[in-house]
């Protein structure tokens, strides 16, 4: 468990896009991005409830700061063209079976440009090269076409569907398509 390296603080994805600790973006900015995308995010993400508030954004930033560099979860802000565009995080690092999960969302005005796929590819490189993980997982609601397309575009394999698993912003349960990429598959893809 304790032999896990720590993920980096910052990552350069491309000329326009970089990842930095989520708590370095002012909670006000994070809140207004989430607020502007509330119903769209709430369709699939538990935190984006009708009640989500600035105080929730502050609390989340505090928690992320406290946990940063420790095992468990580490969440990055996606900065595109200098603007806060969304987040991407690594979960469950430090687990015994060297499997981690990644999750993401992006504001509607940044959607459809390949930003998330590029961020996922950067995270894969970091996970396999730096953290030496054995596998990376992505879970997306069965009907979340865009999220599943990100996983498929990045070369993940569909392993199955866990039923009634994801809680969305209205408290409903969605079935989750499970994707994974193994270390040897990633090495193969990169060649």
């Amino acid at each position: 468990m304790s032999d896990w390296p720590v993920p980096p603080d910052e990552m350069v994805v491309d000329d326009e896009t970089r990842l930095r600790p989520v708590f370095e973006s002012p909670p006000e900015q994070m809140y207004s991005l989430i607020d502007a995308n509330r119903s769209r995010l709430g369709r699939y993400l538990q935190f984006a409830t009708p009640e989500y508030s600035l105080e929730d954004a502050r609390e989340y930033a505090r928690q992320c700061r406290d946990k940063w560099g420790r095992q468990g979860e580490q969440s990055y802000a996606i900065i595109h063209g200098g603007q806060l565009a969304g987040t991407i995080g690594i979960l469950r690092f430090g687990s015994d079976n060297r499997a981690v999960e990644i999750g993401y969302w992006i504001g509607v005005e940044f959607e459809g440009r390949g930003i998330v796929t590029a961020c996922v590819e950067k995270m894969l490189e970091m996970c396999f090269d730096r953290l030496a993980v054995n596998q990376v997982n992505i879970g997306a609601a069965v009907d979340n076409r865009r999220s599943r397309a990100v996983a498929e575009r990045a070369g993940f394999r569909l392993d199955g569907v866990t039923r009634q698993w994801l809680v969305n912003g209205s408290g409903g349960l969605d079935d989750m398509a499970r994707y994974s990429m193994l270390r040897n598959e990633w090495l193969e893809l990169r060649r």
Binding site: Q46, N97, A99, N134, Q135, R157, L158, D159, G160, V161, T162, R163, Q164, W165, L166, V167, L173, R178, S180, L182
Partner: protein, 188 residues
């Protein structure tokens, strides 16, 4: 919608089978049964290695005893006709979607009498009736035919696999076939 461990300290499954808190079984007995079944268990369970020691069992039991009342995981020893023959555990009481998973092992000599199928059915009943679970999950390696037969016998649905998510005693990765049973599908 609340799930409140602890589970009962003892569960009478039927005339022949009872489940008792895992840490109430003397550590020496656990240690002896595991060592007698080392090869049998090690094919699918990563912890069943020759260095499985008595002190480790004691430590594990102390730990579980301390956490019994609030634990997200609760384990039982299985007694078949009053003989200690294996273990079964349920975890996930802290799940936000009320999904718990069940794991188990049985001494080789106690196989073939439905001891595990009956024990699993008893925990499922408890989970759905007393703890308001929404679903129960069981995972087993594709090659583990006997283990897979249990959820299949109990009407679970196969929901795909998880690749390289477990290890055997040699440290080799195993895939896991995942099964789930929803409360709405449960025959009672």
């Amino acid at each position: 919608m609340s799930i409140e461990p602890p589970l009962p300290t003892e569960i009478q499954v039927d005339d022949e089978i009872s489940l008792r808190r895992m840490f109430d079984t003397p550590a020496e007995e656990v240690h002896a049964l595991v060592h007698r079944n080392m090869e049998h268990l090690g094919r699918f369970l990563g912890w069943a290695t020759p260095d499985y020691g008595l002190e480790g069992v004691r430590e594990f039991q102390r730990n579980k005893r301390a956490k019994w009342s609030k634990s997200e995981e609760q384990g039982y020893s299985i007694y078949f006709k009053d003989e200690y023959v294996g273990a079964i555990g349920m975890r996930g009481f802290d799940s936000p979607v009320q999904a718990a998973s069940i794991g188990y092992w049985l001494s080789e000599h106690a196989q073939g009498s439905g001891v595990m199928t009956r024990s699993v059915a008893a925990l499922i009943k408890l989970g759905f009736e007393a703890y308001d679970l929404n679903q129960v999950i069981i995972k087993a390696a594709p090659e583990n035919i006997r283990s897979r037969a249990i959820p299949e016998r109990l009407g679970f649905t196969a929901t795909g696999a998880e690749r390289q998510m477990a290890k055997n005693a040699k440290g080799e990765y195993l895939d896991l076939v995942t099964y789930s049973l929803l409360k709405s599908e449960w025959a009672g």
